[in-house]
Each structure stands twice: as C-alpha cells, then as structure tokens.
C-alpha cells in the first residue's frame, strides 16, 4: 500500500507549508495541523488544499459511495415537486385519506400507559426477547387452537422488524440447515419480490439465490403453473420464501386451493417453507383469514419458519417489532434450534429493543385492547379495499383499454397495476404522479380527493403510450 499515505504530512512538509503561508493567515498555528486549533472557517484541511498541499489519503479511499434506495429517491423527487396536483403512490407505509401517517389510537394509548408505569425496569431484555411478546405474537399467527402450540413444538425469537426476523432465520439456516450444504442450499424468492429478501439471504451468506415464477404479467395474476414447475425442478431441501399474505409487491395471493397444491408439491419435494408475514390483518381486515396459508402449512405437518412484522398492522414502523416463529416436529427439535439462534442473536444484536415489543405484548394480551386494535386494523384494511374498488370502477367507467379486475383481486397495501415503465415515466413527468418503474402502487397513496385525477391520468397514459 505504498501509494496510500496513512500518515499525516511529515514535519518537513509542515515547514514548507509555514514558509508558504502569507500574512492574512498568520494566526494559523501550524503545529495544530488538524489538531485542537478550534473551529476555523473551512477547516485547516481546506486551507491546506487551497495552498495546493497534498493531504493524507484515507485508508478507505477505494470505498465507493453506495446508491440510495430507489423508493427514497422517488420520495425526495416528490417532495421537490411544486405542482399542487402531485400524488405519491410510492411510499411504503399506510396513509389516511388526508395523506397523513396514522397513529393507531390503541398504540398511543398503550405507549402512554407504559410511560406512566413506574414499575417497568429498563434493564436488558433476554437475548431471545420479551417472553410475553413472543408467545402472544406467535399465537396471533398460528391461531389459538394451533396443534403446534398445543403440542409444544413452537418457539420464537424477537427480531428487529420483519427484516431482523428474516435475518436470524437465514443466519440459522446458513449454519445448520441441509447437512453439509448449508450456504450452498438454493434459496428461492418470488419473481418479483421485496428487495430485502435477496439482500438478507445473501448478507447471511447464502450463495445460490434463485427466483421462482410468481407474477404473470400478461394475465396480471398469479403464475401458478410456473411456480409449481419451479418447485418440481428445485433441488430437494431448497428453501422457499413465501409471502403469507398480501404479496409485496404484486398484491396477488394464491387462493386456498392454490396453496393446497403448493403445499403438496413442497411436501413431496422436501422444500422448506420460510414465510414472511408482514401484513396480517392489514390485507383483508381479518386476522384469521390473512393467516390461513401459514396455519394450513402447520396443520399439514410442515416444519417451517415464519417471520412476522408488526410494522404495518400496528402502524409501528419506528420501533422495529418482529418475531421469528419456529415450528418443528417436536419440542426437542425446537429447543435445540432456539439454543443455536440464541448464540446467533448474541453476536448480531445481543438483546432486542423493548418498547415496540412492550406495546404489542400489552395490546395482544388484554382482551379490550386487543379488540380495539382489531378495529383499528380493520379501519386501515377497509380504506384500502375501498380505494381499490373506486379506482377500478373509475378506470372501467373511463373505458381505459385492458382489464382492471386485478386491482380488486389483489390485496394489501400494494397493487401491481401492469403499467409499463414508459407509462410510469409519463405519469411521473407529465402528471406528477410518483410510482415505482415496476408499476407498483401503494393503494394508500389514493384518497377520495385525488382518485379522479389519478384515474384520468392512468387512462391518459395507457391510451397515449402503448
């Protein structure tokens, strides 16, 4: 690394510098090059640079600047746009009809209760997380009468949001799953999927991440045949990341009959299901309905992981509440798996943060708060369902070319409109409607005030740009 000067300029350089300095900067203390000289406009380095001195090079000079995520750029562009008609359909969170974030009344209430509770001590949580949170969260996903819970063969780990839960699961599988293959085990993610699925599994060390057929662009729906074919062709014991409900980004879920077919192939081919459940209750407004797929797999005797996130259904994006559920054949297997996960957590973040887990645990364990929360979730789901129906009927009334039934067939926060990249570009540039190039829109971006504008704009884009 001879070309990398890790050191500061040597004394001799410093002297030359002193000689070159002229009167206006006489107070410049040369021995304080970069040292405790106190604030100085532009800094010592700027001055030195102005004088044409070579400054020391960072040992990290080769590190490139990573690009920001597309969604953030989209949001930034939206903010900058002065047009009063502008609409942001690119955000990743719930918005009210007033385009505002919604604080669930039950969440605010519980947070106040927690703040007023002087008996809470602020010591570290256990490594695996808050026990009341873990058990209640798992119960919500698997159902009160889950055979796995009754047979005592489930366990869970508190994660930092869905991402953290996925990561702990991935770290575990990379170390212990599939005999000696481990990291070489293929991990299948849907095409398309949430970008973090790829990122999390490869960051955890998996080397063979593949995609399975999911979205059929021509039908604007699920490509079941393609999906089943990929499962047939996948090496045994491959890991399949499945979206429990409200598929991100397409909003397209398999029907119960389709799930049954998927499960039967997966069972026959010894494929490992890793569910990502980020929208329970948020999709249909019904907690049980949205958990149908996961519960079906559990009832079918699968061993599986399920990463739960409470960001959306609690509107609790900020506190990073997630839960990784482990369902095993028997309690002993689960115990051993959790003992290894504890070691992984110890290295990754050691102990999870408490606030979000406390809010969720308090809400889920009190019957009154629970029913209040269920109502809050339904409020959000209903607004989204309404926006779907309204958008579809408007497009159909306008006679926009193509079919628009997929808008209401899809579920959850996101919809894959089927708009082409060029049409998206037109909407952004000409109509000030911001959405991702994939044509994904957040239904919460629609409000009763902008529905007409959005519908006519889409109509215009589709008719003008083929």
């Amino acid at each position: 690394m001879a070309d990398r000067d890790f050191l500061l300029p040597q004394r001799s350089t410093v002297r030359t510098m002193r000689e070159r300095l002229v009167s206006p900067v006489r107070d410049f203390r040369i021995d304080a090059l970069g040292a405790g000289a106190g604030p100085r406009p532009g800094g010592v380095r700027a001055l030195a640079a102005a004088l044409g001195l070579t400054m020391p090079v960072s040992v990290f000079a080769d590190v490139p600047q990573a690009q920001p995520v597309l969604v953030f750029k989209l949001t930034a562009d939206f903010r900058k746009d002065p047009d009063p008609r502008k609409v942001n359909l690119g955000v990743g969170a719930y918005r009210t009809d007033e385009s505002q974030p919604w604080v669930l009344p039950v969440v605010r209430k519980v947070q106040q209760q927690i703040a007023a509770n002087e008996s809470i001590n602020h010591e570290y949580l256990p490594i695996l997380g808050l026990p009341e949170f873990r058990s209640n969260a798992s119960r919500i996903a698997l159902g009160d009468d889950s055979p796995a819970i009754k047979e005592n063969r489930i366990g869970s780990v508190q994660g930092l949001g869905g991402t953290g839960a996925l990561r702990i699961g991935a770290e575990f599988l990379r170390r212990w799953y599939n005999g000696t293959k481990n990291a070489a085990t293929p991990v299948y993610v849907s095409s398309p999927t949430w970008e973090n699925h790829n990122g999390v599994f490869s960051a955890a060390g998996f080397t063979d991440i593949r995609s399975y057929h999911y979205w059929d662009a021509s039908k604007r729906g699920l490509d079941l045949q393609g999906m089943l074919q990929d499962m047939e062709n996948a090496p045994e014991f491959s890991i399949f990341v499945l979206h429990a409900c409200a598929h991100n980004p397409t909003g397209t879920d398999p029907t119960p009959e389709q799930w049954e077919k998927i499960a039967s192939v997966m069972k026959r081919r010894f494929l490992f299901p890793f569910f990502d459940s980020a929208y329970q209750g948020f999709a249909s407004g019904d907690l049980d309905k949205d958990a149908w797929a996961v519960r079906y797999f559990v009832n079918e005797g699968f061993e599986l992981f399920c990463a739960q996130s409470f960001s959306k259904n609690f509107g609790l994006y900020n506190e990073r509440v997630g839960n990784l559920i482990v369902v095993g054949k028997d309690g002993d297997n689960v115990l051993r798996v959790l003992s290894q996960m504890e070691k992984i957590v110890r290295v990754v973040w050691s102990n999870p943060p408490a606030q979000g887990a406390r809010i969720v645990a308090t809400t889920l364990s009190s019957p009154e708060l629970f029913s209040e929360w269920r109502d809050n979730v339904k409020t959000m789901a209903d607004r989204i369902l309404l926006m779907r129906a309204e958008l579809r009927s408007r497009l159909e009334a306008l006679g926009t070319p193509g079919t628009w039934s997929h808008i209401t067939d899809q579920i959850g926060m996101f919809s894959f409109t089927g708009l082409s990249a060029k049409q998206v570009e037109y909407l952004i540039n000409e109509k000030h409607i911001y959405l991702l190039p994939s044509g994904r829109i957040n239904m919460c971006g629609l409000t009763t005030k902008n529905l007409d504008y959005v519908a006519t704009s889409i109509h215009e884009a589709v008719t003008k740009i083929q």
Partner: protein
C-alpha cells in the same frame, strides 16, 4: 409422522448466561451477594436509571407530533449528530471539516458488528484483531465470525495490581502491521503525555487501525466531556478510526439498545462513502434502528436544562461509586486485612479488579456466598449500605484463611517473550468446527 425433522442434526448449544448468576439465584443463604451484574445498580439494589429518562419518556408519550414512521436506515440524524458531538467534542476540528459522523446501531454489539463487517470488506490491512481479554468472548466472537484472527491482550498488571496502559504500547509495537486494535474503555487510560505520543507514533508507523469501544462515557469522572478527552486527542492527531459508543449505561436505558458507531475519516468524501456502506449492512440486519431510545437521548442532549440534569445525575452516581470504593478500603483497613488496598480507589468506573487470588475468590463464593467472577473483577455499584459490612468482613476472612494474596510488587525481572501480551485465541464459534454433518438427508428420503 413418517419423516424426520430437518433439525435433527442441530446440537443443543450450551445456555448463554452466567453460571455464577445461576448459582447465586439457587443459593438460599440470606447473606448472599452478587457482585458481577453488568449494569449499574443503585443503593437499593435495582438498576440505575437517570431521572431524566422517565420524565422524557412521559413527555414523548404525550407529544402529539411523535412519529411512528420508519427512521432513516442510518438512524435519526439528530441523534447521530448530538451523540457524535458528545464523543468528539462540539468544536472538534473533525466536525468543522465534516469528516466525522455515525450510524445508529442496536447496542454496542451492533456497532462492533457493522464495523467488523465493514473492515472485513474494505480494510486493506491484515486480518489480525487485537482485543482485550475481558472483551474477547463478546466482541472477539463478532470479529471471528467475520473471519478475523483474534489476538488477545490484557493491560491488567497482576504484579502491581493496576491497569497498566503502558502495556498498550508493547501490544502496538508487537502487533502485525495494519492490524486492528480494539481498545475498550479508552477513557480510563491515564498516560503521561510522552507515552501517548509514543503510542500514537507506533500506531501510525505500523498503520494500525483503531477501533474504540466506549461503553459508558461519563462513568469514570462523572463528566462525559472529560471522559472523552482521549478521543479528542486521537481525532486531533489525524487518526482514522471507528468508535462504538453505547449510550445504555450513561442513561440507564439498557433496554432500548441505543448506540452509535462513530466514524472518524480522513475527509468528508471518505466519510460519506463509509457511511453509505455501513447503511447497507444495517439495511439487511435490522432495516432501520428503533426510535424510542434515540429520541429520548436526543431530547435530553439537545435540551440545555435536561442535559444539565442528566449530567448531574451521572455525577451523583459516579460520586457514589467513588464513595463506595473509599468505604470498602477503609473497612478493610479497620479490620486490619493484610495487604495493600490502595488499588481499590486507584481504579475508576463501575467494574474494577479486587486484586485477590482465584483461591480467595473460591473461598468467597463457596464459604461466604459472595459471588465474584474468577478474574476478581467486581461491579462496585453492587455494594451498598446493606451489604458492605458483610462483604468487607468476608474479604478479610478469605485473605486470612487462604493466606496473603498477590501483594503489589515489582514484576520478576525476566526477559519478555516475543509477544507476551497477545496470544492467539480461537473462540468457539457459533457453529463449532467439530460439528459433524450427518447424512440426515438420506434418512429423510426414506
């Protein structure tokens, strides 16, 4: 069920947690005392919490503008700014030059995790990490998981019963070029200026990368600004380094895991590039950091009145520790306990070495129900008015029963071995190398 579990091969990992604590919990003796808690305790034997914290929590809970939206992936900008300033000083030349910044992380652990991952991917130096023995298990394992070779060192001088920071110079001199030196609790380093200059010269010459770990700023002198002086020195001398800055201890807010990985870079461009890469690691580990802890700390540090109150509470707590040390020393003197106990008051912070032998530790644990780790390093905040007499008497008894412990004395004059303070250390990884893969896949198919 016809098929076997896919988890059949997964061995049971030994339970994480302190065996000593388990033994303590099972002990029925009414006099039992546990002196090894990781957190700072109050005189009533409960974890210490700065009074500004509950007040601020209440304030935030009733703040209608409190947002539940996702924080940026690199953390709350205001939090990163105020805590970085707390560490390097508001008027630091690095702040003026805009070459110091941070990324909010999940605890000190998360900060080490991000830093280690970054160094693995981007540090063009050696794979050797020098780490203090006491931090080996926790932080050493993180580096080892990233493929680094862990080399252990200690600055505790068992002969003179003091932390001898001078040993750090030896470690630096013997370290491989371009290796990584993790310095835990650098605030506690009291070195004459000349020795500092020697140390920094050596570090520069050998192009060693510094990774500081500041777990409890303010716990030594009671003044966070005074504690971090040593980091100011390194900043002002043009070092590029990382520093894991945990705020849990300084606020008593352990359960929100609020920390900052401070990056001091050579220039603004390098800082931006480094932060952008750290952000990617964070994205796939935890998405974005949790909000509450960072909001509490940002609120306190940016509000002059609350900041003063926080500092006052910190000072009060530290004065208490100092008083406890004096009392223990005085009680041992009154009891006529053989040996010198000056080292008790010469050390700072909550954890310090009692300077007793392993046999004496065993005696205290087995006979007196006073639970002390083998190293003899205890948490002084676990000593309070209820148990201090019993503890002093027990120590006295142990010394009398086992015989004189390691008296402070000059080290034996023997030539130092080639790398006396750094021995290679292989930790048992998360997946132990000996784990035998079994042919369960074949069984499964049947």
């Amino acid at each position: 069920m016809p098929t076997l579990s896919v988890f059949l091969d997964v061995p049971l990992a030994p339970k994480i947690g302190s065996k000593l604590l388990d033994e303590f919990k099972q002990d029925q003796n009414p006099n039992k005392v546990y002196l090894a808690y990781g957190v700072c305790m109050t005189g009533d034997g409960v974890p210490w919490l700065s009074p500004v914290v509950p007040k601020t929590l209440m304030k935030l809970a009733n703040d209608p503008s409190f947002s539940y939206e996702c924080q940026p992936e690199q953390g709350l900008d205001a939090f990163v700014r105020v805590t970085t300033e707390l560490l390097v000083g508001r008027h630091s030349p690095a702040i003026v030059d805009n070459r110091v910044g941070g990324v909010q992380t999940i605890g000190g652990n998360g900060a080490i995790q991000l830093g280690a991952k970054f160094l693995k991917d981007w540090y063009p130096g050696s794979r050797s990490v020098y780490i203090q023995s006491a931090q080996k298990d926790q932080h050493g394992l993180i580096f080892q998981e990233q493929g680094f070779i862990i080399r252990e060192y200690t600055i505790w001088d068992p002969y003179r019963l003091v932390s001898d920071v001078g040993k750090l110079i030896e470690v630096a001199e013997q370290a491989y070029d371009k290796s990584i030196l993790v310095i835990y609790n650098p605030e506690s380093f009291v070195l004459p200026r000349k020795k500092w200059m020697k140390l920094s010269k050596t570090i520069k010459k050998k192009q060693i990368f510094l990774f500081f770990d500041v777990p409890h700023q303010g716990f030594l002198s009671g003044d966070p600004d005074r504690d971090s002086k040593i980091l100011h020195y390194f900043v002002s001398h043009g070092f590029e380094f990382f520093c894991s800055q945990s705020l849990s201890n300084s606020f008593g807010l352990y359960d929100e895991r609020t920390s900052n990985l401070v990056v001091v870079a050579m220039n603004n461009k390098a800082l931006l590039c480094i932060r952008s890469q750290l952000t990617i690691y964070a994205r796939y580990l935890w998405g974005s950091p949790p909000a509450l802890g960072s909001r509490v700390i940002t609120t306190v540090l940016s509000n002059p009145a609350l900041r003063v109150e926080w500092k006052k509470s910190l000072r009060g707590m530290v004065e208490n520790i100092m008083l406890t040390r004096e009392k223990v020393k005085e009680k041992l003197r009154l009891l006529g306990t053989p040996g010198s106990w000056e080292h008790i008051t010469q050390q700072d912070g909550i954890h310090s070495f009692l300077g007793i032998s392993v046999d004496q530790v065993n005696y205290l644990v087995k006979k007196k129900h006073v639970y002390i780790p083998k190293s003899g390093q205890i948490n002084f905040t676990c000593i309070n008015s209820h148990n201090i007499d019993y503890i002093a008497q027990s120590i006295n008894e142990a010394i009398l029963a086992i015989g004189p412990g390691p008296e402070p004395r000059e080290p034996p004059p023997k030539p130092p071995p080639s790398r006396p303070d750094s021995k290679d250390s292989k930790l048992l990884g998360i997946k132990a190398p000996g784990a035998k893969p079994s042919p369960f896949a074949a069984l499964f198919r049947k």
